[in-house]
Every structure is written in structure tokens, then in C-alpha cells.
């Protein structure tokens, strides 16, 4: 049995699975039910001065039969009184002393920050998360991503917090920025204990084509929101990996963004996350999904001979490279298993119209299925056919190296072979 317990910047948690600050962590009742289900920690729905919310808050996109592949929200921070929240956090911490309870915060002035930090610490909470990520509503008032998008402001604010706080502080970053390393390094300079990323992406989920109003509809209008769910996972993963491999960046990372199962979690951890936070998948299926996450990660670590989560943290970071460092002599070609092929010929049309025209259909009048064939010398190894094939393991990409020795683009440039014939210099 692998050890799933983690110590994240001084915050102890029975496992790396935390609920992100969002509707699933809105109340004590919810958080306690989540802990009963197996969640190791919860970042409480962001506290701050009271707001009012609109009705019509969520919108989503489906993909085929899969509902809610991407979720968009225009809900703001907590709409419950602060004293009620603090009372419930205290109660939760009393009943669940070994679980991680992190209080997410968002206020404006330095005095407000100092005040709310003290009150949060009085609940017995294990840590604080500073919401510098919310990309809708609150940012119009100078909070949330308005801070996260200005590294200098973020640095200043984190310094205020670090001066006042006695428990670990996590700065939550917005992805709505050109280079996430800028705010992350600001957090390092301000001596934050950790960062979490990503918060949601600014988004407009759709347009009601009958009413010609954007969605989600609030009477006759809408506003942009924050986008999350499985659709954003690859973008979030890249941002986490970018910090994971940045030498100058030394803080623990809590990974967030479309994590729905143990595999997603393991991928974030392998790229440098010490804990992961989940929201959309729980909003879709409930707290119960953590059961699979715990089992799956445990079995995976056992299978890989890893004693605990820390063995996996950042394990894939060394292999996350710049394009110029990839081996150009690595080559794969598509191989179609005729026994498994069901004759949908999607690989053929995809290759012909969307790739490199190397998968052809046999010229036959036979009414039976037509198994496509690969013109191997023409195959560039792009993988598209294997991606569109609906049959498991029918198309495999077989390794056929171009040369035994690796050679990267940067190697070529260094060796003076960066000029490829056919460029501007060769035009008459």
C-alpha cells in the first residue's frame, strides 16, 4: 500500500485530493460529507465582503453524448455571511482535525486582508489560499484576476499577507495571462508558501440563437465567465508543467484544471503538483468520485514501485522539453490490424483530407468492408489515424527510427545544419 498522505507546504492531508474553492465547498455540511466520502482536503468557497449573485450562473458545452465537457460560471464569491462561514469552518476543523481545511480569501485593502486572515486563523484552518484568479465579476472591482494579472500588485499583496499570516499561504494564479511564470515568480519573491493553478479561463460559453443573447442567460443578457472542466485540462497541465520545470521556481504547486479521475491527478502530480484540486467533476457526479481516485492512485503507485505520492511529484518534468530538444531521428509509422478493422475508413478520410495522404482504400467492388492500407514511406507518423480509429489497438504507431543516434533541432543548428533546402535563400 502506497502512502497517499502528503505534507504540502506544511499542510498535512491524508491524501492529495482536495476540493477546489467553489460551490462544492460552500458550507460545513458539504465539506464534512466530502471528508466522509474520502476527500483529503477542501479549499473553502472564497470569503470576502458580501456580494449578491445573479440567477442563471452556469453554462456548459457537451461533446457528443458527453455532457458538460466544459463548464462556465458567472457566480461570485460566497454569498453567506462571514460569521456563519467562520463558525462552520471551526466546527469542521474540530470534527475533522486530520483533514486539510484551507480558507480561500479575497478582499481589497490591507486592513481588510489583515482582519480576515486573523479571523480565518482563529477557526483552526490549516492554510490560506489567496484568490488572485477569479476572472469574472470580482476583477471588475479590482480583485481576483485583476491582481493575478499584475505581478507587481500580486507581490505587494502577498507581502501584506505574509506579514500577517501564521499558517501556510497559497497564492492562486490566473491563467488569463501570457506567461504564468510572471505572477508565479512574484509569489516566490513575496515568499508565499505555495501556489495553486489554474483558476478558470475567461470565456463566453455560447449564444442563444433564438434570443440572440450570450449564455448563461440573465434575462436578456449575459457576461463573460470562468471556464473549467475536462476541456481545459491540457491547458492547465501545460501551465503546471511550465512551473514544474522552471528552475527558479521553488514553491510547491497545487494543480487544478479539469481533473476528473486518478489518471488526471497522477498526470498533474507527475508534472510537479504536490496536491490536486477538483471542482467540475464533483459538480457533475458528486463527492463519490474520490473513491476511484484514491484506489487508482494507490494501485498505480504500487505498480510503479513508488512508496508514496512524493515519489511521483515531478517525475515527468525532465521529459517535458522545448521543441528544439526533441529527437528528430525518432520516427513512427501507422500499422493497421486488418483483423480488428471494422471498415469505418475514418483513418482514410482523416489522412487524406487532414494529414499526409498515405492511407488508401483498396480498389475493390466487393460489398464487404474495405480495410485501408498504409503507404509506409509516405507516412510521417503524425498519429491522426490512430487518434480517430474507434477500435482499441487497431492502429498502432510502430517505431522505425531514422537513425540510431538522436539528433535534435538544436543539435542541427549547433552543427551548422539549420538551413533546410527550399527556403527563401534558395528562391531564384
Amino acid at each position: 500500500m502506497a502512502d497517499l498522505a502528503v505534507d504540502f507546504a506544511g499542510i498535512r492531508s491524508p491524501n492529495p485530493f482536495w476540493l477546489a474553492s467553489a460551490p462544492p465547498t460552500n458550507s460545513g455540511d458539504q465539506v464534512m460529507r466530502a471528508f466522509d466520502a474520502g476527500w483529503g482536503g477542501a479549499v473553502w468557497k472564497t470569503l470576502g465582503n458580501p456580494i449578491v449573485n445573479v440567477s442563471g450562473r452556469l453554462g456548459s458545452i457537451d461533446h457528443g453524448a458527453q455532457r458538460m465537457m466544459g463548464l462556465n460560471n458567472i457566480e461570485l464569491i460566497t454569498d453567506r455571511p462571514l460569521d456563519v462561514n467562520f463558525k462552520e469552518i471551526t466546527e469542521v476543523k474540530k470534527r475533522y482535525p486530520n483533514h486539510a481545511v484551507i480558507v480561500s480569501l479575497m478582499v481589497e485593502s490591507r486592513d481588510e486582508w489583515i482582519d480576515i486572515i486573523k479571523r480565518s486563523e482563529d477557526t483552526g484552518a490549516d492554510g490560506l489560499e489567496l484568490n488572485f484568479g477569479c476572472p469574472h465579476g470580482m476583477c471588475e472591482r479590482g480583485m481576483g484576476s485583476a491582481v493575478g494579472q499584475e505581478p507587481d500588485v500580486l507581490e505587494e499583496l502577498v507581502k501584506w499577507v505574509m506579514d500577517a499570516a501564521n499558517i501556510p499561504v497559497i497564492a492562486k494564479l490566473t491563467p488569463n495571462i501570457s506567461d504564468v511564470r510572471d505572477p508565479a515568480m512574484a509569489a516566490v519573491r513575496a515568499k508565499a508558501d505555495a501556489v495553486s493553478l489554474v483558476n478558470t479561463f475567461q470565456s463566453l460559453i455560447g449564444v442563444d440563437l433564438d434570443r440572440l443573447t450570450p449564455l448563461p442567460r440573465v434575462d436578456a443578457a449575459s457576461s463573460h465567465g470562468g471556464y473549467c472542466g475536462p476541456a481545459i485540462k491540457p491547458i492547465a497541465l501545460r501551465m503546471v508543467g511550465q512551473l514544474g520545470r522552471e528552475e527558479a521556481f521553488t514553491l510547491p504547486i497545487s494543480g487544478i484544471g479539469g481533473i476528473s479521475n486518478w489518471r488526471d491527478a497522477a498526470e498533474f502530480i507527475a508534472l510537479g503538483a504536490g496536491t490536486v484540486q477538483v471542482c467540475t467533476a464533483v459538480m457533475h457526479y458528486g463527492y463519490r468520485i474520490v473513491d476511484d481516485m484514491i484506489e487508482g492512485l494507490n494501485d498505480y503507485l504500487d505498480e510503479k514501485g513508488m512508496a508514496g505520492v512524493s515519489d511521483l511529484v515531478g517525475a515527468a518534468v525532465p521529459a517535458f522539453k522545448e521543441w528544439g530538444d526533441l529527437d528528430l531521428n525518432f520516427h513512427v509509422v501507422a500499422e493497421i490490424d486488418a483483423e480488428k478493422c471494422i471498415g469505418c475508413d475514418l483513418c482514410h478520410v482523416a489522412c487524406h483530407d487532414g494529414a499526409h495522404q498515405c492511407i488508401h482504400l483498396p480498389d475493390t467492388q466487393d460489398q464487404g468492408i474495405r480495410v485501408p492500407w498504409v503507404d509506409e514511406p509516405e507516412c510521417v507518423g503524425c498519429n491522426l489515424c490512430a487518434l480517430v480509429c474507434p477500435v482499441v489497438d487497431c492502429i498502432t504507431m510502430v517505431e522505425k527510427r531514422r537513425a540510431p543516434e538522436p539528433e535534435t533541432w538544436n543539435d542541427r543548428v549547433a552543427a551548422g545544419r539549420g538551413q533546410i533546402p527550399g527556403g527563401l535563400a534558395d528562391l531564384k
Partner: protein, 411 residues
């Protein structure tokens, strides 16, 4: 919507190849998924003007759905028939297909069944002026009166006929060739003719007792079921169906549905040799029908004129009756589903139109008969197949007729 999302939108899709009218199935399914229901119905109609009734009566289990690639990957096939019905119910409008400018050419069509309707509708869209002559009081042919109502109701078929009419097709009902109008006169009146005459009356058995009340032909009985509100089967305890084709199964399933307590089916060969579809027969057997295989009717017994039983004997491997007695099946209604006769006498009135030895009209690939101005399709040429085959024939004939007329315009 959910089912439409399962379709993987095959390139070179086998379902299209197995549809006699080559409906672009993956495309109409994809359009359901995008909410483009009018476009979905348009895709269906472009290939098959009777796409609505075909969605109800097509044996998809042996046609399109049987070739779905999912059958090869241990997944249930896409329910194409159901999706087509959905698209036609929710996306249909009478103005979906474009209509060519009028050509002024008049074409006569004999018979008002699916082959003629498809042919006439296609001709109308091509700008011609088709006129259908139907001897019955209802247009629609077997689609109206011959398909068991559990599959296709009379009203639904009449809606489809109205659609064809709306395309610019004139339908004259109650007109019999050779009685109300001579074949020669039709040829004189129209530039071309299409014979979609179907088949004749139910065949009968030449055994003792077969003539008289309580012994009915299956097609005729289903017709009464669909059109005659006075038809009553009160008091029928035992019904016996003779035959092993799909008409026999249709009649049988209706009798069960009507609550006849004991229904049995007598077929002269084995179940494996039946032309009726197993996917239709199996549920009937589950409903309690008893199937008597390898048996033939030797005599229908009567008391005071009323049928009381069917005397059956064993058959040999060729389906011929032997001397081996199998006893008496109690019966108070006997339904004969042993085929339909041919309308040779009707067809012979048209000069140059040839018949095979079995009585089917001879046509080439373009549905041209021995007379270059006369075309034919449907049951009349194939001896009795599916509605979708008739639609295919009618549409092919329409394009051939169009070709002929345009050539003559330029000739």
C-alpha cells in the same frame, strides 16, 4: 440525440451500401446531432421520397443496421430506423426539396403503391406532370392497405401520399385499366408510362373446404383490418395461418395483438427455411404462437359451413405433402399467406411489355420494359420485396423517363 452521437460518421459507410435507396445515413444522423432536423429530413428525402414509411416498415435488422460497423466491434448497431423516424417526424416539411421548372411532359403511372408514388414524386420534382391511376379507393398500394398496422397506420401513409401529391402529382383513384380506360389510350395520352401494378389477389389452396367463409387471404384480411371498421373477430378462439413469409408473420402478429387466444402457424418447410424474418417471428413465438413446421394443409373441416379445424399432414424435404397424418388443428379462422397471384392479364394489355415464366415484368437496369416508352418497378418486377426496393425502382425509372423525355426534347 444521444443515439445520434454514437454514430462515428464512417467514410464509405456500409449502411449506405446496404440501403437499396442509398440514403446517406451518417450524414442525416450527424444533422440530427447538430439540431439541423430539416437538413436531416432533406438528406433522407433526397435519396428516398418515401423515407417516412421506409423508416417504419424497412427490415433494418437485415438491411442498414445489419451492416453497421459496430456489429464487428461488439457494440450494438446504431438504431438507424428509429433515428430516421425521428428525423422525418421532427424535420419534415413539404418544401424541403427543390423543384425544377415545368417541362410540360405528362407521364402516366399505373398503380398507386410505393413504386409509383416514388416514381411520380421524382418526376414531379424534375418538372414533369405525372398522373397516377389507382383502381382502389385509396392511393398508397400495400403501404396503405397491406402493411400490418402495428408497423404503419393507414393515416400515416395517407399523409405521405399527400406529400407526394403536393409535389405536383395528380392521383386518380377508382380507375381500372381495361375497364375505365384502355391501355392504348394511356399510351396515347402520356409521353411515357410506369407500371407499378404490384401483385394480384392472395393465392388460394386447392384443398377441400378452402372455399367459403372463415378462410381468408392474408393481404385481403390485413386490408380489411386497416380499412373496414365493421371487421369483427369476436368469438375467434383458434386462428391458423398458413405460410412462412413476412405477410404470414404480419397477419399472425396482428391476430395476437387483437387478442385471439390460440394462434398457430403452419409452414410446409422448416423454420430455418422461412422467408419471414426471424426478428419478426421470434417475438411472436414468445407471445405464445405455436409453429407447426414441415406440415401442409390436407383439408379444411367445416360443420354447417363454419370452419372447425385444419387437417394437416407431414411434408417431405421438398415441402410436398406426404401421407403421414399429423391430426387436426382446431380452427375457426384460417388465414392464407401463401403468396399473391400475378397481374399478367393486366400487364399483357400493354404492347411490348414482356413477362418472365413466373409472371414478373421484364425490365433492364434502367427499369425499361420491352416497350421503350413503358417502364416498370416494384413487386411487379421482383415478385414481392420490400417497400424500399419499390421506392428504388420507382426513382430509377423516373430518372430514366426524364432522360428519355429530355432526349426527345433535343431530338
Amino acid at each position: 440525440m444521444f443515439e445520434s452521437a454514437r454514430c462515428i460518421y464512417c467514410f464509405d459507410a456500409p449502411c449506405i451500401k446496404s440501403c437499396p435507396t442509398s440514403i446517406d445515413i451518417p450524414t442525416f444522423i450527424r444533422k440530427i446531432g447538430t439540431g439541423n432536423l430539416r437538413g436531416s429530413a432533406r438528406t433522407i428525402l433526397k435519396a428516398n421520397l418515401l423515407g417516412d414509411s421506409c423508416a417504419r416498415v424497412c427490415p433494418v435488422e437485415v438491411l442498414c443496421e445489419s451492416t453497421c460497423v459496430f456489429n464487428d466491434s461488439e457494440r450494438p448497431p446504431i438504431p438507424i430506423g428509429r433515428l430516421q423516424r425521428y428525423a422525418m417526424q421532427h424535420g419534415f416539411a413539404s418544401d424541403l426539396l427543390p423543384k425544377a421548372d415545368p417541362t410540360g411532359h405528362s407521364i402516366g403511372l399505373v398503380g398507386g403503391g410505393p413504386a409509383s408514388l416514388a416514381c411520380a414524386g421524382t418526376l414531379a420534382l424534375l418538372g414533369h406532370s405525372p398522373v397516377i391511376y389507382e383502381k382502389d379507393a385509396w392511393p398508397g398500394g400495400l403501404n396503405a392497405t397491406g402493411v400490418a398496422p402495428y408497423k404503419l397506420k393507414l393515416e400515416d401513409n395517407l399523409d405521405e401520399v399527400e406529400y407526394i401529391r403536393s409535389l405536383g402529382v395528380e392521383i386518380k383513384t377508382g380507375v381500372e385499366i381495361g375497364v375505365d380506360i384502355a391501355a392504348e389510350d394511356l399510351l396515347g395520352k402520356h409521353k411515357a408510362l410506369f407500371l407499378g401494378v404490384g401483385l394480384g389477389a392472395d393465392s388460394t389452396l386447392g384443398v377441400h373446404g378452402a372455399e367459403g367463409d372463415d378462410v381468408v387471404g392474408a393481404v385481403q384480411w390485413i386490408r380489411r383490418l386497416k380499412t373496414d371498421p365493421t371487421l369483427a373477430i369476436d368469438g375467434v378462439m383458434h386462428a391458423v395461418i398458413v405460410g412462412g413469409g413476412n405477410t404470414a408473420i404480419d397477419a399472425m402478429r396482428e391476430l395476437i395483438g387483437l387478442g385471439v387466444p390460440f394462434v398457430s402457424m403452419v409452414y410446409r418447410r422448416s423454420r430455418d427455411e422461412m422467408s419471414g424474418y426471424d426478428h419478426e417471428l421470434s417475438p411472436a413465438l414468445q407471445d405464445g404462437v405455436s409453429l407447426v413446421e414441415n406440415a401442409a394443409v390436407a383439408e379444411i373441416q367445416r360443420e354447417n359451413g363454419k370452419v372447425t379445424g385444419v387437417h394437416i399432414v407431414e411434408t417431405d424435404p421438398n415441402g410436398k405433402p406426404t401421407e403421414t397424418d399429423l391430426g387436426i388443428l382446431p380452427a375457426d379462422l384460417v388465414v392464407m399467406a401463401i403468396g399473391q397471384g400475378k397481374l399478367a392479364d393486366l400487364v399483357k394489355q400493354f404492347r411490348g411489355v414482356g413477362l418472365t415464366a413466373k409472371g414478373n415484368v421484364v425490365v433492364d437496369d434502367l427499369m425499361v420494359t420491352g416497350n421503350p416508352r413503358i417502364f416498370a418497378g416494384g413487386d411487379a418486377i421482383n415478385g414481392g420485396k420490400e417497400v424500399v426496393n419499390a421506392v428504388h425502382d420507382g426513382q430509377v425509372a423516373a430518372r430514366s423517363i426524364d432522360e428519355l423525355l429530355r432526349r426527345s426534347d433535343h431530338g
